[in-house]
């Protein structure tokens, strides 16, 4: 399954196309208020029209009103009842779980795995998108400097997500933060061991005082890194 990220984020100047393939984990990172959650909500609202979405929320940032707003902007004006019905149908496709530590996330993912194993082969609405907002707040508390268990948990979480993506045709969207690096520059949180886990990595930033966001590719299997685009939400 392939769909275009930029088709979903309307109102953007498309300078290049970013494709999310059905099997790839994608990790987005950026400093605070760089639009990461907005991108997730927008993506979720677009995918939920036809498929199911699972949203793992670690910081109570999931907002149904915002999703309703995104959906309301796109449907043609019709009767209030039809609008309501459409909203209900789409919203029922999104399930949001609050997880506040990594073991709760493992729990949810294992449940998801057994659920998807039963669902595979049956028709109807299939789950296609898994969003984790944000993984750094789950893993940073366990990443100590002397213990190896933290990194082991991080790697196992990454492999579980990759396994789910590959075996059940999910697209996995992960949010990561940035931390201060040397010389004042920012670098992605979770260190270098995390860099080897996602398939593609995007860097989001926001222009101060305006509504435009920048996204650039840090790593992609088939596109050169460094390509950038601007968009508004």
């Amino acid at each position: 399954m392939e769909w275009n990220c930029w088709k979903m984020l309307k109102g953007i100047n498309m300078s290049f196309l970013l494709e999310f393939k059905g099997l790839i984990c994608c990790s987005e990172m950026g400093p605070s208020s760089s639009g990461k959650t907005q991108v997730c909500l927008r993506t979720a609202s677009n995918v939920a029209r036809n498929h199911m979405v699972l949203y793992l929320d670690t910081g109570n940032s999931f907002s149904p009103q915002r999703i309703a707003y995104f959906l309301g902007k796109t449907i043609s004006p019709s009767s209030a009842q039809a609008k309501n019905q459409f909203l209900q149908k789409v919203m029922s496709n999104i399930s949001c779980h609050s997880v506040f530590d990594i073991f709760a996330m493992f729990d949810v993912l294992h449940q998801l795995e057994s659920y998807l194993r039963c669902q595979d082969g049956r028709g109807g609405c299939q789950m296609r998108l898994l969003i984790v907002d944000s993984i750094s707040s789950l893993i940073s508390p366990v990443l100590g400097s002397s213990s190896t268990l933290g990194r082991a948990l991080m790697t196992s979480a990454g492999y579980l997500l990759k396994k789910l993506a590959h075996q059940h045709n999910l697209a996995v969207l992960i949010i990561n933060h940035t931390v201060g690096g040397e010389g004042g520059s920012s670098k992605p949180a979770l260190g270098d061991s995390w860099k080897c886990i996602p398939h593609s990595r995007l860097f989001l930033s926001c222009d101060r005082g305006s509504n435009t966001y920048n996204v650039s590719i840090l790593r992609h299997p088939s596109m050169a890194s460094g390509k950038a685009a601007r968009f508004v939400i």
């Binding site: 990194r151 082991a152 492999y159 990759k162 270098d192 860099k195 299997p221």
Partner: protein, 340 residues
């Protein structure tokens, strides 16, 4: 009795004949960008580098060179015509990118040969159209020779290695070609998980505990056994963190902290002329198994190649055998392209 003893002394072949036979059956491979040192079956090559330094691309390039035939319907592709086995431990292999690169190589070779004949632009286009079904047939043939398997943890990896012999035998019977290349993407992928699980010992005493050291020894043993029956060139990638002077984005404390942690499983390289720019984390069993080692990393320079193409330049350095030269290369649609 005398005739038996004499029969012992009669030679099978002279040294020259043996050298000829071995060089044709097991040729030296010069794969760009690893063209400085010829590689043969039985060698274990380790590609070391930080994240996203095109290590997987080099593996894919080697695989494509291996699976393409030498000559196909009059067109020379310059490949080996053997199968290649790709064990994906990183689970990030993009098969679409692989097929893109393979297609580009096939088209480049086909176009190259048609231009050699000296036809005009129109003729070469018509010839390309005619060759299209041949290209698809060749593409299907090559993809059949590419074997892929992915493992999500060390136990799956060990299980794969233990049963690989039968799988390769079956492939040999079905396709009639030997497997010449064993590619392992990211041999250190399960390093942290194995290190973490060593703190949970197994209950019974007669099984070996799941230590990082034991897992590595088992992996090396299985690959050695496999190489006895199926002589192959082994290429493995390994993701490392380069030291402070190589990357400006690393925190100093990170590198120092790693050196300070006492790790009984990795060998300390103390000789001054063999200062590694990164910290070696694989156990000694794997380190002594490796026969060739190469370091790749991305530079900050970009090669401006047309309007929208901005390919980054990568540096390559041979660590084992240590060579003084630094090679520059870039990754394009047709594969890895050496710059200097």
């Amino acid at each position: 009795m005398g005739s038996h003893a004499k029969a012992w002394l009669v030679e099978d072949e002279s040294a020259r004949e043996m050298l000829d036979r071995v060089l044709t059956e097991r040729p030296f491979l010069l794969l760009p960008p690893l063209h400085r040192v010829p590689l043969r079956v039985g060698n274990v090559v380790e590609l070391v580098g930080p994240s996203s330094s095109s290590k997987t691309h080099i593996l894919i390039q080697a695989a494509i060179t291996c699976i393409l035939p030498k000559l196909w319907k009059g067109v020379s592709y310059g490949g080996l015509g053997h199968s290649a086995m790709f064990i994906d431990l990183d689970c990030r292999f993009d098969v679409l990118r692989f097929s893109e690169l393979l297609n580009h190589r096939i088209m480049e070779a086909a176009n190259g040969s048609s231009s050699k004949v000296g036809c005009h632009q129109k003729d070469s286009e018509a010839q390309f159209e005619r060759m299209k079904p041949y290209n698809e047939e060749l593409f299907a043939l090559c993809m059949k020779r590419f074997l892929y398997i992915r493992c999500y943890d060390s136990s799956e990896f060990l299980a794969t290695l233990k049963t690989l012999h039968y799988r390769l035998q079956k492939e040999r019977e079905v396709h009639g070609v030997n497997v010449h290349l064993l590619l392992i993407d990211s041999i250190g992928a399960f390093h942290w998980v194995d290190r973490g699980s060593s703190s949970f010992p197994l209950e019974c005493d007669n099984r070996k505990s799941w230590h990082l050291q034991n897992v590595s020894e088992a992996v090396v043993q299985e690959i050695r056994r496999l190489l006895l029956v199926h002589p192959m060139l082994v290429m493995a990638t390994k993701a490392v963190v380069l030291g402070n002077k190589y990357s400006t984005n690393e925190l100093t404390w990170n590198y120092r902290k790693w050196s300070a942690v006492d790790n009984p499983y990795s060998r300390n390289i103390t000789s001054s002329d063999q200062q590694l720019p990164y910290r070696e984390y694989m156990p000694a069993a794997w380190q002594s198994f490796v026969t060739h080692r190469i370091l790749v990393r991305a530079t900050d320079d970009d090669l401006v190649n047309g309007e929208h193409q901005n390919n980054s330049i990568y540096l390559l350095k041979w660590l084992l055998p240590p060579l003084n030269s630094l090679d520059k290369f870039t990754v394009r649609d047709t594969g890895v392209f050496i710059l200097s």
